[in-house]
Each structure stands twice: as structure tokens, then as C-alpha cells.
């Protein structure tokens, strides 16, 4: 397999001591019928690190993301969180373990104000069995929290449908991080966003990183990730073929690597696979 040879040339960075690793994905595979989405993937996320996960459409990156957030279960392999193996049977399971995801669809309610979305499903109430919404408390905490992570919104009382795409993304990220998550997974946070919107999210992710939040950012565009991440991993045809610290690589090397990979695939007669990347 050409990609493994290429992987050998771009060897992963030096091994880590286990104390540094917060999330350890070991030899995970997943197939959907005859289609092998993940062949044998091992990936480590260090504490406080921002890891960029790059790959073409169909490379398996969303499958890997969905396994880490508990949506899919792997066929083999295991996942360790802080050194302990965990079983993730559902998204709720993952959330209980402190792994939260910001989906591409954001899961916000457009008709509810910002503060209610931040508390969605975990509302603060007063009045005992009456379950009266503690609106002023939620407003205040939401305002303080958003300010603390440097998200500027016109008003926490604004309905989410009145916000721009970037502001909505920021609200979704804020909701996921408000409850002290250990690992935050961001699925294409910069998809379909203009330059100004993107920089809003990039700043937010950088700010979270500066507080030591461990994150995996999934994107198909690696140029964005150079600005955001500490480390980049490339997933191709269900295996990790490139895994380097940003400080040890460059945009140029990455581009050369991706181009040579593409040529390799052409050279080994895998044209159909490449051209058919959008197929099943």
C-alpha cells in the first residue's frame, strides 16, 4: 500500500510518556459492510494540545470523530481516556466521560435566546417542583462565561436565529466547554464561513487552547489548521499517514506531502479511487 510507505517517510513524532496523553486511540478499525472506513488507526491527543485531523472526503475522519464522540462503536481497537480504557456506547456516554462534540449542525435552537441555548437540556431552575427557569441567573452566568472566553455577542437575550454563522458556532462551542470537558471535538468548525467569521472562531479556539483545553479539530482544509493547531495528523484511506508537530513541519512540506501522496495514488493505478472519492 503506497500510503503506508509514505507514512514511513513521515514518521510520527517521538513517543510520549503516558502522563502527557489525555486521549489514546489504539488500533481502531471500522467497516460499514464491505467498505473499510478505518483500517487501523492509532492516534494520541496530548493534554492541552490542539490536534488537527485532516483528510479528504471519504478518508475516514468523520468516522473516527464519531467513534471518539460515542456515535459509532469501533469493530476493534480501544480508546483510553487519561490512561483508562473507556467504553462509549452512546454520545451521552462520551459526554459523561468528559468528551463533548460541536457538530457541524451545531444543535442550537434558533428560536431560543443565547443564554437558553447555552443551558439547553441543563437549565437552572428555582421554585423546587415548579421548575421555574432561573432566567436572571442563566443570563448573568452566560454573559460572564461568554466574556471570559472572549466571545462578543450583542446581547445574550438575542435569539440565536438573529446571529451570524460565526456567532452561532461560538455559542455552540461555548455550550460544549461550559461544563469542563476533557476533550473537545470540533467537526469542521470553519466550514462555509467567511474570513471575518473564521477569524472569530480561530480566536475562540486559540483562547480555549491557551486555557489548556485539549481539542481535536476536524477539517479538510489544512491551511486553516496551521493557524490553530499544535499538531497535524492526516488520515488517508482509513490510516494515519502523517503525524507531526506544527513546529516540525511547514505549510510547504504539508502541501508537498499531499501532492506527492496524490501522485503516488495516480502512479499505482488508483486513479478510480481518487476520482471516485465522492462515491460510496
Amino acid at each position: 500500500m503506497s500510503s503506508t510507505e509514505a507514512g514511513a517517510t513521515a514518521a510520527p513524532s517521538a513517543p510520549l510518556s503516558t502522563a502527557d496523553v489525555i486521549l489514546d486511540v489504539q488500533h481502531v478499525s471500522k467497516a460499514f459492510g464491505a467498505i473499510v472506513a478505518l483500517a487501523d488507526v492509532s492516534l494520541q491527543l496530548r493534554r492541552g494540545e490542539v490536534l488537527g485531523l485532516v483528510g479528504d472526503n471519504g478518508a475516514g475522519k468523520s468516522t473516527l470523530a464519531k467513534i471518539i464522540c460515542g456515535f459509532h462503536q469501533p469493530d476493534s481497537g480501544k480508546i483510553l481516556l487519561e490512561g483508562k480504557e473507556i467504553q462509549l456506547h452512546s454520545v451521552q456516554d462520551a459526554r459523561r466521560h468528559g468528551i463533548d462534540t460541536v457538530y457541524q449542525d451545531l444543535a442550537l435552537v434558533p428560536q431560543l435566546p443565547v443564554y437558553a441555548n447555552l443551558y439547553l437540556g441543563r437549565e437552572s431552575t428555582v421554585g423546587g417542583p415548579l421548575h421555574l427557569l432561573a432566567r436572571s441567573k442563566m443570563r448573568r452566568v452566560a454573559r460572564e462565561y461568554l466574556r471570559s472566553i472572549k466571545v462578543n455577542l450583542p446581547n445574550v437575550d438575542a435569539d440565536v436565529e438573529t446571529l451570524s454563522g460565526g456567532q452561532r458556532q461560538a455559542v455552540a462551542v461555548a455550550r460544549a466547554t461550559r461544563s469542563q470537558v476533557k476533550v473537545l471535538l470540533l467537526d469542521e468548525p470553519l466550514a462555509a464561513m467567511g474570513a471575518r467569521e473564521s477569524s472569530l472562531i480561530i480566536d475562540l479556539i486559540k483562547d480555549l487552547a491557551s486555557r489548556g483545553q485539549s481539542m481535536i479539530v476536524v477539517d479538510h482544509n489544512y491551511t486553516h489548521l496551521f493557524e490553530l493547531c499544535d499538531r497535524l495528523a492526516v488520515l488517508q484511506d482509513g490510516v494515519i499517514t502523517f503525524d507531526k508537530l506544527i513546529s516540525e513541519t511547514s505549510l510547504q512540506e504539508m502541501t508537498d506531502y499531499m501532492v506527492s501522496e496524490y501522485r503516488n495514488q495516480l502512479g499505482t493505478g488508483r486513479t478510480e479511487r481518487v476520482n471516485g472519492a465522492n462515491g460510496p
Binding site: 435552537v109 431560543l112 437540556g121
Partner: protein
């Protein structure tokens, strides 16, 4: 846990939005426009205009006697309309509410007059049956994934069938005397007071409680709300139970006032007027947006129109025509007001 405490400076590229978190507070002019953009205010102005019109053109309109008549007409619409506003906000609809309104008074009657059950107990049993009926609507809709339009159309017909069979299509006299009768429906203002009580309870449910937030979430983004941990199925089932109980309750009050139980009425008129009141008041058919105050004012508008046209000697058939125009006008106004509000929000954001 070793967290790097580098308080990295905000990236220089930060295009900090020009507004601070609280800068949305607008000057007085904008504040006024915001008030007018509220659907409740717009429809309330319509109610005031109609009231003034009928008061000045006929002497019999603004009298205490007529107000009693009018509130008795609008009471069931107000109570069931508020409940429909909740159901519509979850993204569903209940077509069986009117039949519950007609059927459950029969249950009270059978238990009380035929089986000798004390009145209060009979009412409680009937309301419990109504809750089970609502549970059925909710379970069929959520567990089997049927559109509630279909579910409640079916249960509407089935329940009406049960009523025709059990009553042998015979009218009954439901005559209550003494304090109990007065409290339930004998006193002129009983029905509207009970209805306002129902509306107040539903207002609490939708606008003040955690449940209400979940209702909006279920109707606004079903999948997203579920991903965020909102028990969307349960919220819908509880909503269906609530509307059945409210409809049954106000039906019992209405029957106690009229003192007649008529199996010839299938309750569709009450159901349609209730949905009309909710929609005229500004509740969206598409879910995620509902207002209880709006539905109450919607019921008031229907009451004023119905009663006013009646007093002016206008053929009752015209009421249907006017109702049709009113529903359309309200929907168009809703859409336009929302667009205006969105434009304003966008301009603030920039």
C-alpha cells in the same frame, strides 16, 4: 492536572464586533418599534379597534349582559387555544381537542347521574381518562412517528364514535344545583374565570417553566434539542396530555353552564376556533414559536367579532368569512413583522 497558564493575548486579527455584550439596549424610538413588532401588541390593537367600533355603532354591545355572553363564547376558545399554542409550538397539532371538550362531560354525567359517583370524584375520573386519551395521542405520534395531524384526526373520529355509541345519540340534561353548580358554571362569570385560570397555568408552563423551554426546543430543532439532552419525546407526550385535560376540564365547565349535553356536536368548531385563536395571536404552525398572551388576545378578537356581528344583526355566516380573512391577515402580518424584526437585528449586528 497541569494546565499551561499562558494567558495568550487575543490575536491581533481579532475583528472584535463593535458592540459590547450589552449594547443591544436601544434608544427609546427603537424600543417603541420593538414593542410594535411584538405580535401580541399588534393583535391587541386590532382587538381594541374592533371593540371601539362595535361599542360606538351599537348601543347593545358595551353592556354587562353582553360582556357575559361574549366571555362565555370565548372562554373555551381561550382555554383550548392556549393549549393548542403549546402543541403548535412543539411542532404538532391536536385535532381531537374539540372532541375531548364534548366527550368528557359525558363521562362525568354517566358516572354522576347514572352510577351515583360523587360529582367531584366523577370529574377527577373524567380528567384522568382525558389524560390517558392525551397519552394515546402522544405515544402514537412519537413512538410510531406518525404526523400528529393523522394521529389526532383518527382519535378525533374514534372518540366521537365512542360518544355516539355510549350516549345512543341522545341529549342529556346536566343540571347542577347548589354551590357546586354555581362554582362550575352557574355564576355568569364562572366560565371565563375558569378559562383564565387555565390560560394562566399554560402561561406558566410555556413561558416560565423549564418544560416550556423544552417545548420551544422540540419544535425549533428536534434533532439538535435531542443531541443537547432535551427529552423531546416526553415533552411532546406531556403536551398532548395537557391539552386533553384542559379541553375536558373546560368542556365540563361549559356543560355545567349550558346544562345540556349534545352528542350532535362533534367539537370541530371549538377545535378550529381554538387553533385560529392561537395562530391569530402569533403562534407559528411550523413550531418553535408560541405565545399564550397572543392566543388569549386571539380568542378575544374572535369573541368580539362573533358577538359584535351578531348584535349588529349580520348573518352568522359572515362570521366565517370574516374569520377566514382574519386568519390570513394575521398570518401575513406575522411574516412581515418577523422580517422587519430580523432586518433590525441584522442592522444591530453590523
Amino acid at each position: 492536572m497541569a494546565k499551561p497558564v499562558t494567558t495568550a493575548p487575543i490575536a491581533a486579527t481579532a475583528p472584535a464586533p463593535p458592540t459590547s455584550p450589552d449594547a443591544g439596549w436601544a434608544p427609546a424610538g427603537r424600543q417603541l418599534r420593538r414593542v410594535l413588532e411584538r405580535r401580541e401588541i399588534a393583535i391587541f390593537l386590532v382587538a381594541v379597534v374592533l371593540f371601539v367600533y362595535f361599542s360606538t355603532t351599537t348601543s347593545a354591545f358595551a353592556t354587562v349582559d353582553n360582556m357575559v355572553t361574549m366571555t362565555q363564547f370565548m372562554a373555551p376558545i381561550a382555554a383550548i387555544g392556549a393549549a393548542e399554542a403549546v402543541i403548535l409550538t412543539t411542532g404538532e397539532v391536536d385535532l381531537s381537542s374539540g372532541t375531548a371538550f364534548i366527550f368528557f362531560p359525558f363521562v362525568v354525567y354517566f358516572l354522576w347521574a347514572n352510577a351515583g359517583v360523587p360529582l367531584v370524584a366523577a370529574i377527577l375520573v373524567a380528567l384522568a381518562c382525558a389524560a390517558v386519551f392525551g397519552l394515546l395521542n402522544g405515544v402514537l405520534t412519537t413512538m410510531f412517528g406518525l404526523p400528529s395531524f393523522v394521529t389526532t384526526l383518527a382519535t378525533f373520529s374514534a372518540l366521537y364514535g365512542v360518544m355516539l355509541v355510549t350516549s345512543n345519540s341522545v341529549q342529556e340534561t346536566f343540571s347542577l344545583t347548589g354551590t357546586g353548580g354555581n362554582v362550575l358554571g352557574g355564576y355568569s362569570w364562572s366560565e371565563i374565570l375558569w378559562a383564565l385560570g387555565c390560560v394562566a397555568f399554560i402561561f406558566y408552563l410555556l413561558h416560565l417553566s423549564r418544560f416550556g423551554s423544552h417545548v420551544v426546543a422540540a419544535g425549533g430543532n428536534l434533532l439538535g434539542a435531542a443531541e443537547a439532552g432535551v427529552p423531546v419525546q416526553r415533552v411532546k407526550i406531556w403536551s398532548f396530555m395537557m391539552i386533553s385535560v384542559i379541553s375536558a376540564f373546560i368542556g365540563i365547565i361549559d356543560a355545567a353552564r349550558i346544562t345540556t349535553l349534545d352528542p350532535g356536536n362533534d367539537g370541530t368548531q371549538e377545535m378550529f376556533y381554538a387553533i385560529a385563536a392561537a395562530i391569530i395571536g402569533g403562534t407559528a404552525m411550523t413550531g418553535g414559536r408560541g405565545t399564550i398572551i397572543g392566543s388569549l388576545i386571539g380568542a378575544l378578537v374572535l369573541g368580539i367579532l362573533y358577538d359584535g356581528l351578531d348584535i349588529k344583526g349580520v348573518n352568522a355566516s359572515y362570521f366565517q368569512l370574516v374569520l377566514g380573512v382574519a386568519i390570513l391577515a394575521a398570518m401575513i402580518a406575522n411574516v412581515q413583522l418577523r422580517r422587519a424584526a430580523m432586518r433590525r437585528w441584522r442592522s444591530i449586528r453590523r
